[in-house]
């Protein structure tokens, strides 16, 4: 079965802390994504990566960075956490060819981050 694993389900961090959210997929997918989900705002794309060491900004990249050193792992980094980054974060992956074939994307279970 397809598996996207997010390392932490629930985190509580203090304002100003550096936060790492880790995501691993076991499907050898080229594309990986980080979304955040907030009530009334739906899913918003933060960053995505279509290859190792490649990254592209999504709709709301401010305050975030990402790292993709290995194909299976995509990390989201909050350089200095703020309370407005309290949210649910969803990692996802898909095989290459999203543009051509409309491949499905597969989601992890989500990480609930609270910044206090």
């Amino acid at each position: 079965d397809v598996k996207v694993t997010q390392s932490s389900r629930y985190l509580v961090k203090r304002t100003g802390e550096k936060v790492f959210l880790e995501c691993v997929q076991d499907m050898d997918h080229e594309n990986m994504f980080w979304y955040r989900q907030d009530p009334g705002l739906g899913l918003r794309l933060i960053y995505f990566s279509y290859d190792v060491k490649m990254k592209e900004k999504g709709d709301i990249p401010e305050g975030y960075s990402v790292s993709r050193e290995k194909k299976e792992r995509f990390s989201l980094i909050l350089e200095s956490a703020s309370t407005n980054q309290t949210s649910m974060y969803l990692c996802a992956s898909s095989p290459r060819g999203l543009r051509k074939s409309g491949n499905t994307i597969y989601f992890g279970e989500g990480s609930w981050l609270t910044v206090v």
Partner: protein
């Protein structure tokens, strides 16, 4: 924004009834997908319909696509309590290597 919009935002029906959710979008698409999210969990893919298709079925799900109106609908027939979830449409725009999600419809099936 290219984001799709679902309608209604929330829907509550009795078990056994049919549930219809709509999605509208703004620009030409390559395909449109529907996803389901149980409370507090990740999203799960339900069905994909390509821009050259008008209707698609999968079990109790029926999806239609009207590219002239830039809209899609998801019909769940003979609803069950286990169908209670949020449902999202996602569009794949030409030239983009990503999906854009709507805000979702929260469906509640009452026993």
């Amino acid at each position: 924004s290219q984001q799709g919009e679902e309608d209604p935002q929330a829907l509550s029906i009795q078990e056994g009834e049919n549930a219809t959710m709509n999605c509208s979008y703004k620009t030409s698409i390559n395909n449109l997908q529907w996803y389901r999210q149980n409370s507090g969990r990740g999203l799960v893919h339900l069905i994909l319909i390509r821009s050259n298709e008008r209707e698609k079925h999968s079990g109790r799900l029926r999806v239609t696509l009207d590219t002239s109106k830039k809209s899609s609908s998801l019909l769940i027939t003979a609803s069950r309590a286990a169908d209670t979830a949020s449902y999202f449409c996602a569009t794949d725009f030409w030239g983009a290597q990503k999906l854009v999600f709507g805000q979702g419809t929260r469906l509640t099936i009452n026993p």
